[in-house]
């Protein structure tokens, strides 16, 4: 027992020390910007990074040639010094680079750009390769000029291809050479551990303390320092950034209120707002997003292969109810696949199903649509005298009873909004007699069911960050992508749509392309393979007592412009 006794004493002393110790003793001498992250970044390997947290960190380090600037519709040159020069053949582009250096002081050259692009092409790096496979070759003209030759004219080359992050040849040459020789080159490239990423961005990584924080310092070689780009004078004016990991947003909000962080780099639930607003030092930003949350149907099998049923479902779904209740008003209703905020491409002339109808009117409208299409009920939702009643026994036009249908949703812990929306939609569909039930599913399982196996009736999913270029319309609904792991998850086949989509990809004239995109939106709105539901707003909270200069743009304030412009408040 003596050993135990000794341990007991030690433990008691230890706990006493813990209790006596007060946080006040730790006065801070430095003034780092402190950012809360929702989760630990996966990796600092830029090719592998596909999660938001890794990208948040890496976006401070690896920079693209062009990027969007707040309040501007055109892209601004970033590592490039001016817009790409397209030659008359419409497939050759020349890009001039700014004079800049890597964070270790070595020169950034055209060779790095060419290396990066060739690396993508050679290793067919997922998520990037599709944007580069139409590029025939990349040539280094001189130290600061690169030439790209495309196989055919491509509308998306500037906005989609020239926005990839550029890596240093010095950092990756050896790795690539080694990977090439392995049995699984891509896996080797992905699994290469990067400890000190070499970039051109405003900050460099000092230390990543796994499970706790990341420490970044100002990059003295940052090319933008003191320059005016996109109408802004760039810094950075902050010496250090600490990224702290908070597993739950509740705690992050407490940390924000307590002043332990200056910003939480993750959208927060509307539920927090009321409380946060009571703190004078806290400011809430509510920003537009480029996103899409929708109800998708399986067009490959009954019952949702019938557009009439899909339209009836569209009428029954009360988007404004979802927005008012579940999003607490922080979002807007969607009627097209393209968010209304994307003004150039968004088609404003689409009719919304069941707009401004109340519950009973919706049921009546759905009843009418279904009745006209040949559906029958044992007990219809609207009786002979026009009174709404609980419906029962819905029969398909062929006379058979409708089998129960399942609406797959992500689980509540992944996204409570979609999970609860699923339950509401289930109730609404039942009002017209559609035997629907919502079933939240683990995210990976849900996607496999929907995207790989195509075994489902309907699902609710969302795309969090849609590019401004509407090329995704083609990817979502072109019949070419209706295959295993393809993004045409609904199995939508329409030769007319396919033709227009193909044309849109290659039409270089903006106005002409816009008309094609308008047409595509109309077709989708008519056939409803996806029913767009809502577009939530990005809600972010920051403290205003230590730093100022947050730049609000699409997708919120967590962008490179903010980090280049933030400065301490004195």
């Amino acid at each position: 027992m003596t050993v135990l006794n000794r341990t007991r004493t030690a433990l008691l002393l230890f706990s006493a020390a813990v209790l006596v110790f007060s946080p006040v003793a730790w006065a801070e001498s430095r003034h780092p910007l402190r950012i809360g992250l929702g989760e630990e970044p996966r990796t600092l390997n830029v090719w592998m990074a596909s999660d938001a947290n890794s990208n948040n960190i890496l976006s401070q380090i690896y920079q693209p040639l062009y990027r969007y600037a707040p309040g501007e519709t055109e892209m601004v040159p970033w590592l490039a010094s001016g817009p790409p020069e397209m030659e008359a053949d419409r497939v050759t582009y020349q890009v001039r680079l700014r004079p800049s250096r890597w964070s270790d002081g070595s020169a950034f050259t055209a060779a790095d750009v060419a290396f990066t692009c060739r690396l993508i092409k050679e290793f067919k790096i997922p998520r990037h390769y599709s944007r580069w496979k139409f590029v025939d070759r990349i040539e280094v003209v001189d130290d600061r000029t690169v030439r790209f030759v495309l196989k055919e004219p491509m509308a998306i080359f500037l906005t989609r291809s020239l926005t990839i992050p550029i890596v240093s040849e010095k950092e990756w040459r050896e790795v690539a050479a080694y990977a090439r020789k392995q049995k699984k080159p891509l896996a080797t490239l992905f699994n290469h551990t990067v400890e000190h990423p070499l970039g051109t961005g405003p900050f460099v990584l000092e230390k990543w303390h796994k499970g706790a924080f990341l420490h970044m310092k100002k990059n003295d070689f940052f090319f933008g320092q003191g320059l005016w780009i996109g109408g802004r004078l760039l810094g950075p004016f902050v010496g250090e950034i600490l990224f702290k990991i908070y597993g739950t947003s509740d705690v992050a909000m407490l940390a924000l209120k307590k002043g332990a962080i200056d910003m939480y780099w993750q959208g927060i639930q509307p539920g927090y707002i009321e409380n946060l607003e009571q703190h004078p030092e806290i400011r809430i930003f509510s920003s537009e997003r480029s996103a899409l949350y929708y109800l998708g149907f399986n067009l490959r099998k009954p019952p949702f292969d019938d557009p009439a049923l899909r339209r009836a479902a569209a009428v029954l779904v009360d988007k404004s109810f979802i927005i008012k209740r579940i999003l607490q008003g922080y979002g807007s209703s969607m009627d097209s696949i393209i968010p209304a905020g994307n003004e150039f491409w968004y088609n404003p002339n689409l009719t919304e199903y069941g707009e401004s109808l109340n519950r009973e009117q919706r049921i009546r409208a759905a009843h009418r649509i279904l009745k006209e299409a040949g559906y029958r009920w044992t007990r219809p939702p609207v009786d002979d005298v026009g009174k709404v009643q609980p419906a029962e026994g819905l029969r398909l036009p062929d006379g058979s009873f409708m089998e129960p249908v399942t609406i797959l949703t992500p689980p509540a812990d992944y996204d409570p909004h979609r999970a609860i929306s699923g339950l509401l939609i289930q109730q609404w569909l039942r009002q017209a007699g559609i035997p629907a039930s919502a079933r939240p599913m683990a995210f990976g399982a849900l996607l496999q069911q929907v995207k790989t196996r195509h075994d489902f009736d309907a699902f609710i999913l969302g795309y969090g960050r849609l590019s401004l270029d509407p090329d995704y319309l083609r990817i979502f609904f072109h019949s070419e992508f209706d295959r295993e792991r393809g993004w045409n998850m609904s199995g939508y086949h329409n030769p007319e749509f396919d033709r227009i989509a193909e044309a849109s990809e290659k039409t270089m004239d903006l106005e002409a392309r816009r008309l094609l995109i308008y047409k595509m939106q109309e077709i989708i709105a008519r056939d409803v393979p996806y029913l767009p539901i809502y577009l939530p707003r990005e809600i972010e909270a920051v403290r205003t007592d230590r730093f100022a200069g947050w730049v609000q743009m699409l997708e919120g304030i967590g962008n490179i412009w903010s980090f280049c412009q933030l400065s301490p408040v004195n």
Binding site: Q328, A412, L423, M441
Partner: protein, 309 residues
């Protein structure tokens, strides 16, 4: 020892089953722990029974789909909503009542099933001995190594959101080994008692011996374990729901906590955060207390297991 027995013998020896029950009840009721436990449990049973009432009063009190048309955000207690509403305007009190029903259902059925498996396996293992015993007990070892919460979490995360009955079944499937070990050793001691030997000599079949002779004798022990299993089943279900792996179609207390948590009301809506947590704690407490008190009635020497979760 002796003195204690001496006086007890003077009374208890001739007592029949009814007297035993009455005596047990007296001991039980005299124990403040048993009394508090039972009263608490009665309150929750009442809540569960009352859960059918609010939806009848007004559809807006339906715990899952009913929303107050006037309210579209979380509000504190009011005349129409005694405990307030959640963020889409559902009544928290009706959810709390419905949660009591689910908790009882989950707790009792999971406990019943795990006790059923555990008792059956324990009796077979103890009675059959040899090969069956070895195989069953190794199986028990194996299942015992798995932390239940983690395993159920993994399963529900892998196979998608589980229905409440699947969760119940899973809890039962991973919770039997402890019981079966105790029942097994009890069976081992019973096996060589004269009345079992007598039954065997009289030509009773193995099944008959197990169910007619051994089962009634291990039943009190099994029932005792059931109360502890109820506790752990309720806690596991709540934890699962809290982490977002519960059955989204049911209103359980864990689910309510998950809603509070995930919608960002955790630290600003105490009227919503506190009741489900208190209810989970108190209901598990009541079953636990019941078990402790029963333990003292059944046999003061029964060692309770040290649960580690």
């Amino acid at each position: 020892m002796k003195t204690g027995n001496e006086q007890r013998d003077a009374f208890a020896a001739p007592a029949g089953r009814r007297d035993w029950l009455a005596g047990g009840w007296a001991i039980f009721w005299e124990n403040p722990i048993g009394k508090i436990g039972l009263i608490l449990m009665a309150c929750f049973a009442l809540m569960a029974a009352a859960s059918f009432v609010p939806p009848l009063l007004d559809p807006m009190y339906h715990p899952m789909h009913g929303v107050d048309p006037e309210i579209s955000h979380a509000t504190g207690p009011s005349a129409a909503h005694w405990l307030g509403t959640d963020f889409i305007g559902r009544d928290i009190l009706s959810q709390l009542l419905a949660g009591a029903r689910i908790a009882f259902m989950v707790g009792l059925s999971a406990a019943f099933m795990s006790i059923f498996f555990g008792t059956l396996i324990g009796m077979i293992s103890g009675y059959a001995g040899r090969f069956a015993d070895t195989v069953l007990m190794r199986l028990a070892d194996m299942v015992m190594v798995m932390p239940t919460l983690l395993v159920v979490l993994i399963l529900s995360s892998l196979f998608g959101q589980l229905r409440i009955w699947t969760i119940v079944l899973l809890i039962a499937l991973f919770r039997w080994p402890g019981v079966s070990r105790v029942i097994r050793s009890q069976t081992l001691t019973l096996k060589h008692r004269p009345f079992i030997e007598a039954a065997r000599v009289a030509g009773a079949s193995h099944l008959r011996i197990i169910f007619r002779h051994i089962f009634p004798n291990v039943l009190p022990l099994a029932l005792l374990y059931m109360t502890f299993r109820v506790t752990s089943a309720i806690i596991i279900e709540a934890a699962l729901a809290f982490l977002g792996f519960g059955d989204p179609g049911t209103v359980s207390w864990g689910m309510m906590l998950q809603w509070v948590w995930k919608t960002g009301h955790m630290f600003q809506a105490p009227y919503w955060l506190l009741p489900p947590g208190i209810c989970i704690s108190l209901l598990t407490l009541s079953f636990y207390m019941l078990g402790r008190a029963m333990e003292e009635v059944l046999d003061p020497r029964l060692r309770k297991e040290g649960e580690s979760e």
